[in-house]
């Protein structure tokens, strides 16, 4: 009997609109691997590739995994998943495991923003914005591209601001026009960027206030890596913000934890455990076997 047989392994697969993330854990909750890759239009159905990499890193085989939970925008495109759970529940669980005192979580992704209230480690209530780019990472992405700056440099540049130029336009498109106009009027780039961060922060803060904010507040998602945004959010919300070391991890981590919990509860809940052997293949429209 090898050491692998006494342990159990679980997988969380988070297919976001921009990035796909996979987390593998063991039954003690140890993080064995975390892999992320761009989702992209063609890669939406290539969750198996990211999974393959994660398995490699953890030195595991797909057959070793006891339960797989898929989450995120593309959660229906994971043929080897045993269950789909929304990213809202998964984020709540993931954030809670990293920050046991967390009561509120805000996730600003590439194409949406979510605010969650957490109670006893679980999702209690939520609000989402996915109809307007102005309150999402897209807002900064579009500007970075228009100004030919790297998205990852925006935060640092904005911290050099001597004053924060208010951006009055609500709409991402019009905001770009405003930025160009401001630059041509001689406004400094760092001041404009500071204003842009404020604009995004205030949109997200308005969303969060609909839900009510209770500390501790945790910020996740790609935008959380932007130090200028963290600062702007703190000011908009008027409270401390905790950021995990790896802000893209929480969804997949939560999914893996929920995979373990579902597996453990299954016998009592009268649910059958998956017995089929999984095939690590890309999703197609014609594959009937995986339900």
């Amino acid at each position: 009997m090898t050491h692998q047989e006494v342990n159990l392994y679980f997988a969380g697969v988070d297919i976001g609109s921009t990035m796909t993330k996979v987390v593998l854990t063991d039954k003690a909750g140890n993080l064995l691997s975390f892999i992320k890759g761009p989702t992209g239009a063609e890669h939406r159905r290539l969750a198996n590739e990211v999974m393959r990499q994660a398995l490699e890193e953890a030195r595991l085989h797909i057959d070793d995994i006891s339960y797989v939970v898929a989450t995120g925008y593309g959660r229906l495109n994971v043929p080897f998943a045993d269950r789909q759970i929304t990213e809202l529940s998964c984020h709540a669980r993931g954030v809670s495991s990293l920050f046991p005192g967390a009561r509120t979580a805000i996730d600003i992704g590439g194409q949406d923003a979510k605010c969650l209230r957490i109670d006893n480690g679980r999702l209690a209530s939520f609000v989402m914005n996915d109809k307007c780019a102005a309150g999402t990472g897209r807002f900064l992405e579009v500007t970075a591209s228009a100004l030919s700056i790297r998205l990852e440099d925006m935060g640092d540049i904005s911290l050099k601001a001597t004053r924060r130029v208010p951006i009055s336009n609500l709409c991402t498109i019009f905001a770009q026009q405003e930025v160009v106009a401001l630059l041509s009027r001689g406004e400094k780039l760092e001041n404009i960027l500071a204003g842009l961060h404020d604009a995004l922060a205030s949109r997200v803060a308005a969303l969060a206030r609909r839900l009510g904010i209770e500390p501790e507040l945790v910020l996740t998602g790609g935008v959380a890596k932007n130090i200028g945004m963290v600062k702007a959010m703190k000011e908009s919300l008027g409270c401390e913000i905790l950021v995990p070391k790896e802000p893209l991890l929480t969804g997949a981590l939560g999914a893996a934890i929920l995979a373990k919990e579902t597996y453990k509860k299954a016998p009592a809940a009268g649910e059958a455990l998956p017995t089929k052997s999984r095939r690590l293949e890309k999703a197609t429209f014609f594959n009937q076997e995986y339900r």
């Binding site: 925008y73 929304t86 529940s89 679980r122």
Partner: protein
Amino acid sequence: MSGKNKGLSKAREIYLNRSQRARELKAAGKKIIGYPCVYVPLEMLTALDLVPYQTCGDMKEPVTEADRALPHAFCPIMRNCLHCALKGKNDFLEGMVTIHSCDPQEKTARVWESYTKYPYFHFIDMPITVRPEAVEYFKGQLDDFRKTLEVFTGKKLSKDRLEVATKSHNRQRALVTELYELTKSSPPLISGTEIVQVVKALTSLPVAEGNDLLIETISEVKKRTAGPEKKSARLLIWSSTLDDTDIMQVFEAKANVVMNESCGGVRAYRGEVKLTADPLEGLADYYLNEITCARTFRQATLGETRKDYARDLQSRFGYLKGTIKDWRINGVVMLLVRYCDPFAFEMPSLKDYLNSIGIPSTYIEYDYTTGALAPMRTRVEAFIETISR
């Protein structure tokens, strides 16, 4: 129409091809009259042997024709209805009866009348309160409606005719109530999706044929061995209109929708019209008081000089409490159509009420297009995840 299908399969067939029966009846010489809102007293049409037909929208239609006359920031359902009308989908109608239930209904009514050429058109005005003089005024409106109907048909709308029609429509209400009894069980014997199809069918058939369909359906469902699967969440959906199976499916993937509190669900079928000496009085009273649409201003006491928010909430929403209890509902979804003002203003107060009776609820907004379904799915599933522990 194939005579082979009965009950649920017939409802499904009609849902997919709504106007078929109306067209058959028109070919046989009947006059079909369209109506866009459940506040229109159909009894008065039935009494004169006219066939009422609800002019619904179609979520799958890309709305283009309405741009001529209605701005984009406007009730997407009415825009859709107008688009379908201007595109000629309702060309079998002899006329329309429109009504001042809400702004979009009132404003679209004028446009509808201007841009189409039906032989008959009548607009019924409605008061906003249920005060005695308001009910009296509404009765007067129905009397004027009677006058133009009589001119159009050349027949008298006698008390007898109206009573017969009212009894038939009351029968339909009672049958729908009976149908909804079948969602009380766990799992419900009939799904929310199936009921949407049945109600859609009812709004496409003469009342007597609708009653027959209901009787068949109830009998079929009672005998069922393979009904909907039991899900952990039993939902009530509160909305202006939920009449599309694609939307219902988003909910029923992970929940049992046991009550559809909207036009498209139970709203048009509660209680019954009283048979009064002046039949129009019973109708005016019923439609103003019993239809639970947010457009009507209700308060605990008429002209009250002292107000109490809790009592106000109870008078406006108390009717939901019994339903929630009897149907063992564990979550309410407030499904709002974008740009719908009456329901939007109502929503936070309803949430307060639901909080006061300890029922979890969530608010989801959509714009009556197929693009709205995917974002709706995540929100619905997340809500279900929070209430099923």
